[in-house]
């Protein structure tokens, strides 16, 4: 199985690259140089079958001293590897060269070399010492130009690295998307023909795992939405007692329960994408922090009145068309027309109130105050819009990132504008059935498929505080 030793000077992002490729948010990443003191192995395996290993190593600290030792002991080019081996053997217990021994040992054991530099900083000739040492090992080598800062010295670096490495790639550990990561793994395979099959198997497994995660996330979100649509609050009160206060407190409890359910779904999605340690406050951002029931949130994530009307009309038209089809067209598409009219009127006159309050008389005396379930037409869209944004951010977030998750949106932008009409209609149908009849296994599957299709869409947003005029907000909150 191939091993890849990630080497380079301290603070060039070696651990970040390993964290991103290994999807390991536990790897220590710090601005303090020399955070990694021991070589750590990260195995990529599928069902326990090892496909490759990444080795995170300490950085070079005394490269010049090492090279001087090597040059002093070499006889000719044919025994350079043996000299490097001899150096490690002789200095294994020497604290002065502890870092060099740690990083050279995996290479001497057969690992391919991934030499990491920071392409946002200028190249300096002092780096050549390290490159020479790595060249002496004779192992397949690739250079990765990581971009930690804002500068761009890629060309400078490329000219220097091309002289020492067979492959040079630019790889931003913080921002690399899935395709970039798989392309990098493909490049690893180019270092040695014998590694190709394992690396191809790893890429295949990664793609399959990505599909699985998307499916699981969609299922979690669909189940959370179904649960939120089913929640009610009930309390018995005596015959003569006022119900307003009880209703208000039931309403507050209901909304809080829904908020908590949404938060739980988010945590599950984060866990599916291996972001378990992402702190709660990391999602408390400008957009995701907007309360589920706030005006801003409804304007940003909900459908506009027109969109609701069109979606209602389309859903009604499809139902009406079914009747027309049953009648073999004899109805002259009257069913479609009536269905569209009823659907659009239903959407137009749909209550903006979040959840209705019912006071029911009881056979044994007293009253039952019931709040919910939520029947505001826009709630499912707000919920799905938020889930879509959250999923998109989590899916694309690299594990090297330790900063809070951020999102910005252009003015006048609305998340739901990006959903195709057909998908919007399918979602509306599934939600309508669930609201009317409860969530059967079939409707649950339908909603899951819709959410999965939604999550497959790439959210085209640079989110940033919505300035859009607020058009409708449930008055109840």
């Amino acid at each position: 199985m191939p091993d890849f030793a990630v080497v380079g000077q301290p603070n060039k992002g070696k651990s970040s690259i390993v964290a991103t490729l290994a999807e390991n948010e536990d790897i220590a990443i710090s601005s303090k140089p020399g955070t990694t003191r021991k070589a750590t192995h990260y195995d990529f395996s599928v069902d326990g079958k090892l496909l490759y290993t990444l080795v995170d190593t300490p950085g070079f600290q005394r490269a010049n001293r090492v090279l001087q030792w090597l040059e002093a002991h070499v006889e000719d080019a044919s025994n350079r590897v043996d000299v490097v081996r001899a150096f490690v053997a002789e200095h294994r217990d020497d604290p002065k060269f502890a870092d060099e021994c740690e990083l050279l040992q995996p290479i001497l054991d057969g690992a391919g070399i991934l030499y990491v530099v920071d392409g946002s900083k200028p190249y300096g000739p002092e780096f050549e010492v390290e490159m020479q040492i790595l060249q002496w090992t004779g192992q397949p080598r690739m250079a990765l130009i990581n971009l930690i800062g804002e500068g761009d010295y890629q060309e400078q670096w490329r000219r220097a690295l091309d002289q020492y490495f067979s492959i040079v790639r630019v790889f931003n550990a913080m921002l690399a998307d899935f395709d970039t990561r798989t392309n990098l793994l493909r490049a690893f395979a180019e270092l040695n023909e014998a590694w190709r099959s394992d690396m191809e198997a790893a890429i295949k497994a990664l793609r399959s795992e990505r599909s699985r995660r998307l499916h699981r996330s969609a299922t979690e979100v669909a189940d959370a939405l179904i649960a939120c649509l089913s929640y009610t609050g009930q309390q018995f009160v005596d015959e003569g007692d006022a119900t307003d206060g009880v209703a208000q407190s039931l309403r507050n409890a209901l909304l809080q329960r829904i908020r908590e359910r949404e938060q739980r779904a988010r945590q599950q999605v984060q866990s599916i994408y291996r972001h378990d340690r992402m702190r709660a406050d990391e999602t408390d951002l400008v957009l995701l922090d907007i309360d589920l029931f706030s005006e801003e949130g409804w304007a940003l994530f909900g459908l506009s009145r027109t969109q609701l009307l069109i979606t209602g009309a389309m859903t009604g038209a499809v139902a009406g068309f079914g009747i027309d089809a049953l009648l073999g067209g004899a109805s002259l598409l009257l069913g479609t027309a009536v269905g569209a009219a009823v659907g659009s009127l239903g959407s137009w006159f749909a209550s903006d109130e979040l959840a209705k309050t019912k006071v029911l008389g009881q056979q044994l005396g007293g009253k039952l105050v019931q709040v919910g379930p939520l029947d505001a037409a826009n709630f499912p869209w707000v919920f799905l819009g938020r889930a879509w944004l959250h999923h998109d951010l989590v899916r694309e977030r690299n594990h090297a990132l330790r900063s809070v998750m951020s999102a910005q949106m252009q003015d006048q932008e609305n998340v739901m504008d990006q959903i195709p009409e057909d998908l919007r209609r399918r979602i509306a149908q599934a939600i309508g059935t669930i609201r009317k009849e409860g969530a059967s296994s079939r409707t649950r599957s339908q909603l899951q498929a819709c959410v999965e299709a939604l999550f497959q869409l790439k959210l085209e947003s640079e989110l940033a505080g919505n300035k859009r005029p607020v058009y409708e907000v449930p008055p109840a909150f």
Binding site: L21, A22, A227, S230
Partner: protein
């Protein structure tokens, strides 16, 4: 809990356990469940889940399934016993014979057989509705079935919900419906056992006389046909329990005739066999069959209820999905950031006229320095070059300024150079390390802080880091 628990109890426990388990990290659950799934060869999803349930390590304190079973058994027992008592009571009342008038068979069969049979047919109709995919539970009124309100008690005391919209509403309502049928048929079976018991006891300890009477102008032959039709299932097997035309004719009673209007009183007692078989064949047997059928459907519904739960579908996914471990197994502690050195507290170097300048790794260009006393060293300098530079240091300076690239990390080999420099210049000379930013701009505070922390490792008060304020007179 063992694998010999009924499926409903296991389903309740599995659901509850999985819901609690959902707080665990997804990867941990995947690894755990896939490890079990890899050893499963059976393709049947139910068997997969039950085998997983046996294999999983879990606390033995799960008690929801036990409670569900207890409540279900208690309610079933109460229904059976209640049915039995009511059957005995109704049967005894219906078979009351004071000796004046025989028991009217038409009334007896109407109460004990026909009316319950109509309810039975209605139940069968609801079963058909359910089989055709309708939510029969929602249509089934409480007044019609003792099982319906028993289900309410079951929900309340067992903690399982069969109604409600969440998740698998159809699976739950299906399960609930068949539970209602099971409950109500248990009551029915108990009722007929009681009625039959009452009949057998009364026949044994008293002399019952049966006849038939109606105000309607009905011929005996019509009634005979009716009785014969009722006796059709057993007439050939037990002819003595099927009436003949003479018996029917002889059993007609008129209440105004004295004393009973019947000539051959002894014949009237022979009807008890017919009544017994009517109760058994048209009352007890259909309910027993429906009970068995509903029990079978309940078991099937339980299977669906178990498998369609969202957490179980997720479990199935974990059992069959390969664990793709990208390297999450290695855990290293997050470093604790050292206390930031107060970069703002550092002095800013702007004048370098009184200092000897040492440039490390080409941190500044020669054109920017206007002093003659400069030395150049780098990470690739040899020991000889280093010695040469150090040995040629003028002794008149009280300060050496070392310019470094602020954006590069301070390496140990640089600290080696500082140590060698200190040895060369002695303790009275101060050594100021000045990290310079790109293109000789002031360095970023974060970078200076890193240099300050590293240089502080030397524990040499005379060696310190200064902020770079630009070149004015160097």
């Amino acid at each position: 809990m063992t694998d010999r628990q009924p499926l409903l109890a296991q389903a309740a426990d599995i659901h509850q356990w999985l819901e609690r388990d959902s707080d665990r990290a997804d990867l941990d659950r995947l690894k755990r469940d896939r490890a079990i799934g890899q050893h499963q060869t059976d393709a049947d999803p139910l068997k997969k889940v039950l085998l997983w349930w046996q294999a999983i390590e879990r606390p033995a304190s799960a008690d929801l399934g036990r409670r569900v079973l207890q409540v279900r058994r208690t309610l079933s027992g109460l229904l059976l016993a209640g049915g039995l008592l009511i059957g005995v009571g109704v049967g005894s009342l219906a078979l009351t014979f004071e000796g004046d008038y025989p028991i009217n068979l038409l009334a007896l069969l109407g109460v004990l057989v026909l009316l319950p049979f109509i309810f039975l047919l209605l139940t069968v109709m609801f079963c058909l509705l359910q089989a055709f995919g309708l939510n029969a539970m929602a249509l089934l009124p409480h007044w019609m079935s003792p099982g319906r309100w028993t289900l309410d008690l079951f929900e309340r005391y067992a903690g399982l919900q069969f109604t409600g919209f969440y998740g698998q509403a159809d699976a739950r309502s299906r399960l609930g419906f068949w539970q209602v049928v099971v409950f109500s048929q248990l009551f029915g079976v108990g009722f007929y056992i009681g009625a039959v018991l009452a009949l057998v006891v009364l026949v044994s300890v008293s002399d019952l006389a049966f006849g038939w009477s109606t105000t309607l102008a009905v011929e005996s032959s019509s009634i005979y046909s009716l009785f014969n039709m009722v006796a059709f299932p057993w007439a050939s097997l037990w002819p003595a329990a099927a009436p003949d035309a003479d018996l029917v004719e002889a059993s007609r009673i008129f209440r105004l005739a004295a004393p009973s209007g019947v000539e051959q009183v002894a014949l009237l007692g022979t009807w008890w066999k017919y009544v017994l078989m009517s109760l058994l064949i048209w009352g007890f047997l259909p309910r027993l069959l429906l009970l068995l059928f509903a029990g079978w459907r309940f078991k099937r519904a339980t299977r669906t209820y178990l498998l369609e739960h969202s957490e179980v579908t997720a479990l199935m996914d974990r059992l069959i999905s390969p664990v793709v471990d990208l390297g999450q197994q290695s855990h290293t502690p997050e470093p604790t950031e050292a206390q930031e050195s107060g970069v703002s507290d550092l002095q800013t170097a702007t004048s370098f006229a009184d200092a000897y300048i040492l440039v490390w790794n080409g941190a500044v260009s020669e054109s920017e320095l206007r002093t003659a006393d400069i030395a150049w060293l780098s990470a690739s300098s040899s020991d000889a070059e280093l010695s040469s530079v150090l040995n040629s240091l003028p002794t008149r300076y009280k300060k050496v300024v070392v310019f470094t690239k602020s954006w590069e990390p301070p390496l140990l080999e640089f600290l080696d150079v500082l140590s060698a420099l200190r040895e060369q210049v002695g303790k009275s000379c101060s050594i100021a390390v000045v990290p310079v930013g790109l293109e000789s701009r002031p360095a970023e505070s974060g970078d200076v802080s890193v240099w300050a922390r590293t240089v502080a490792q030397l524990q040499d008060p005379g060696t310190y880091v200064m902020n770079f304020g630009g070149f004015t007179d160097a």
